[in-house]
């Protein structure tokens, strides 16, 4: 670490941020020296992305000061921040797939030669240098589309370096990388540090934060609950600071299905070419089966196949013992299978439709006599608003005016309004705050009590472990194993999910 008296690169003093009347950051203060690597952790909705946006020019703070390189920082656009040397690598990469690597690296910052024409040779050479510096074997002429995720990450880093970054903000850079790729990335980060570049490393993976960072800042519900050096900290302590209490309090006693409960959903030898390999499992009424696994392990694809969005090549699905042919979402819903997609705004809800129209979107037939009766729609929506505590001015409010958590409740109501007997939840609590989260857990439990069979796909291990008495773990499109009862642990799941023992592989 740099000596204490060295001037800070970045200093946040009592930073507040409000959206309208809602304050989401309540006075965050921290400081970062040259070459520091700061881990920024916190649960979804804790304010990490908001804080990041205040730094990269997408948002302006509503109170407090940001001091960067010794003077007040006033970036009003991303371009301003970039000019000042603050570069962000977003979680969803910001690369143009149809362009070549070097074209991406210099996108918006093209080198020009005589007559203002593009100096392709110089850009290619410089790109090569940058990638070499990173130790990345990426061909500067290949299309980004053809690159692996890890290689794309390297291109993003090279792009950041081309701006001579002083502060690099990385949002969840390792979620899509495997263990070896993470180590390569860490090597790059250490080299950047040696050159005096500071890094803010936002991550959910506490182990990685402990490995790479010098300092760690923990956000909880928009407040900075701790900011300290990494020495003496361990995972358990970080987790405790993040959640503010022991994780188990979020979850109620697990419900086990009645011993004689009938099998609701039975999937046998389901295969989809290139995606799913010979998957078999069954869920009984009142039971919830968790699906854990890494990103890309085929969990969403499995859900989409059962829901009829994708066609299975082989295998069969039985509902209450009867074989069903599900080749469209309509058939799945009519047979009693509802699905809450993981990408809420992309596949779950219509943001420019009202609460009522969203709730009845899949079950509209019931509200036609034969013309749509708005009164019955509103009445139904009102019922869900009350039952789920959906915070909305009314049932005619457009969904874009609701918060993520409330949008998610509407999405669940949409599925429930089809009166399913099987409900598939895909990342039901992604991007929603703690309160909404525990409410979603309560819904799921009440559905189980009513005898629904549920599938819970989640990358949040705590959530799967907290809710499910049985957990199926997927790896590369196949079931790697199933855990139940006392065999369930984070280590056991990670072992099945990755095929490597985490503690021995370091």
């Amino acid at each position: 670490m740099p000596p204490e008296n060295s001037q800070n690169l970045l200093e946040l003093v009592d930073v507040h941020k409000s959206y309208g009347s809602v304050e989401v950051l309540h006075g965050v203060s921290l400081a970062l020296g040259e070459g520091d690597i700061l881990g920024l952790i916190g649960e979804n909705g804790a304010g990490k992305s908001t804080l990041m946006k205040c730094l990269n020019g997408m948002e302006q703070v509503s109170g407090g000061r940001i001091i960067y390189l010794g003077s007040p920082f006033h970036a009003t656009t991303v371009a301003d921040a970039v000019k000042g040397g603050i570069i962000t690598i977003p979680q969803e990469f910001n690369l143009v797939k149809d362009l070549k690597v070097y074209e991406n690296i210099f996108l918006g910052n093209e080198l020009r030669g005589c007559l203002g024409l593009l100096d392709v040779a110089a850009m290619r050479t410089r790109s090569k240098e940058l990638l070499d510096e990173l130790g990345a074997a990426v061909d500067v002429d290949s299309l980004v589309e053809d690159l692996s995720v890890a290689a794309r990450q390297m291109v993003e880093v090279a792009k950041a370096l081309s701006y001579s970054a002083k502060l690099l903000i990385m949002d969840e850079p390792t979620t899509v990388l495997n263990h070896d790729e993470v180590q390569v990335l860490f090597g790059v980060i250490r080299r950047l540090k040696a050159n005096g570049t500071s890094v803010i490393f936002i991550s959910h993976k506490l182990r990685e934060v402990l490995e790479i960072c010098d300092k760690v800042a923990v956000l909880r519900d928009g407040e900075l609950v701790s900011f300290s050096g990494i020495e003496g900290l361990d995972e358990a302590e970080l987790a405790r600071r993040m959640v503010g209490r022991s994780p188990s309090q979020m979850f109620t006693e697990k419900r086990l299905p009645a011993a004689d409960a009938e099998v609701a959903l039975e999937v046998s030898h389901l295969s989809v070419e290139g995606l799913l390999k010979d998957i078999s499992f069954s869920i009984r009424r009142g039971e919830i089966l968790g699906f854990a696994g890494l990103v890309g392990s085929g969990r969403t694809e499995l859900a989409e196949t059962i829901y009829g969005v994708r066609r299975a090549n082989t295998g069969c699905i039985r509902l209450f013992g009867k074989e069903v042919k599900l080749d469209s979402p309509r058939k799945a819903l009519d047979s009693g299978i509802a699905y809450l997609p993981e990408d809420r705004q992309g596949t779950g809800i219509l943001t420019n439709f009202s609460v009522a129209s969203n709730v009845t979107l899949s079950s509209l037939k019931r509200y036609c006599q034969p013309l749509i009766s708005p009164e019955s729609e509103i009445k139904a929506a009102q019922g869900y608003v009350e039952a789920f505590h959906i915070k909305t001015p009314g049932t005619e409010t457009l969904l874009c005016d609701l918060s993520g958590g409330n949008q998610q409740k509407v999405a669940i109501a949409k599925g429930l309004d089809c009166k399913p007997s099987v409900f598939i939840f895909d990342e039901p609590t992604r991007g929603i705050d703690i309160k909404a989260k525990s409410e979603v857990y309560a819904f799921i439990n009440s559905l189980l009590k009513q005898g629904l069979a549920c599938m819970l796909i989640s990358s949040d291990l705590e959530e799967v472990i907290g809710l499910c008495s049985r957990i199926a773990v997927m790896r590369e499109g196949a079931l790697a194993g199933e855990l139940a009862g006392d065999d369930i642990s984070e280590e056991a799941i990670m072992y099945l999910a990755s095929g490597v023992h985490w503690h021995t592989s370091h």
Binding site: M58, Y307, V309, S328, P329, R330, A332, L333, Y339, P341, G346, T347, G348, I349, L350, T351, N352, F353, S354, S357, L361, S362, L364, K365, C368, P370, L371, I372, E396, L398, K414, C418
Partner: protein
Amino acid sequence: MRKFKTSSFFIEYAPYMALALLLVICCISSSGFRKPQNLLNITRQVSYSGIIALGMTFVIIGGGIDLSVGSLLALSGTLGIMTMLRIENPMTGLLVAAVVAFAVGFGGGAVNGLLVNLGKVPPFIATLGTMSIFRSLTLQLTNAGTLSTSNAAYGNLGGALLCRIPLPTLTLFVLTALGSVLLYKTRFGRHVCALGSNERVARYAAINTPLVSFWTYALTGLLTGLSGFLLGGRLCSISSTTAGLGYELDAIAAAIIGGTSMSGGRGSLAGTLVGVLILGIISNVLVMWGVSANLQDAVKGIVIVAAVLMQPRKKISN
């Protein structure tokens, strides 16, 4: 409709206020304009492209576009008259010709719908192609000439007045009302809005999106066939070169002026009717004012661009 409330009262009712303002200005400034007969003439003149614009509104709300309607109108009108020429009995000829014109329109729309949804051809390209094909077929059928019929029943129908209102005008107004019911009160209408709003969400909500999209094109084709049949009846003839020329642009412009979002998801048929009337009134009053015919399209263009500038748009930043 209240489903698509925009933040500002002004924006939602802008087309209606614009129409009212336009009417007042035109009535005051031109004595020729305010004659009831002239006003009725305007509604008749716009009814042909107006009927098509109703279908176009569904296509645009569903996230598509149809450039082929002008050519399809000529083709269906032409085939209607060709049928009439082969049948001696005027009434039989009229009925069979109507069925043929409707069927050709529906078939043409269905071809568009299949290309877009089965062939996955982008709507702009698919209908650009059929636009050329339909027009070219019409030219070939008539040897690039004008086709006329002496069927008296057709002429009577084309000039028919109900309570002194021309038949095409009445058709336009009745269809606007029926279309509004279809858009706001049926599953099909709701599904069209969902499709244009976000196709993936609609698909995951168990809506058969290709089928919904197909029907928007087929519906537009059917209305185009009807419009072609009515247009032919006006003078008992149809010109293969000029019939329906530019109607696709008038129909699209009317929908946009009426507040339908070019990116899909929301719109209104009453708004489209207002758009149709605004365009018709402008063309008419420019003649009354003695403005050069060459400049009329410029004024129309300004109105279209202004309408879009005033529409609420998605913010670029998130």
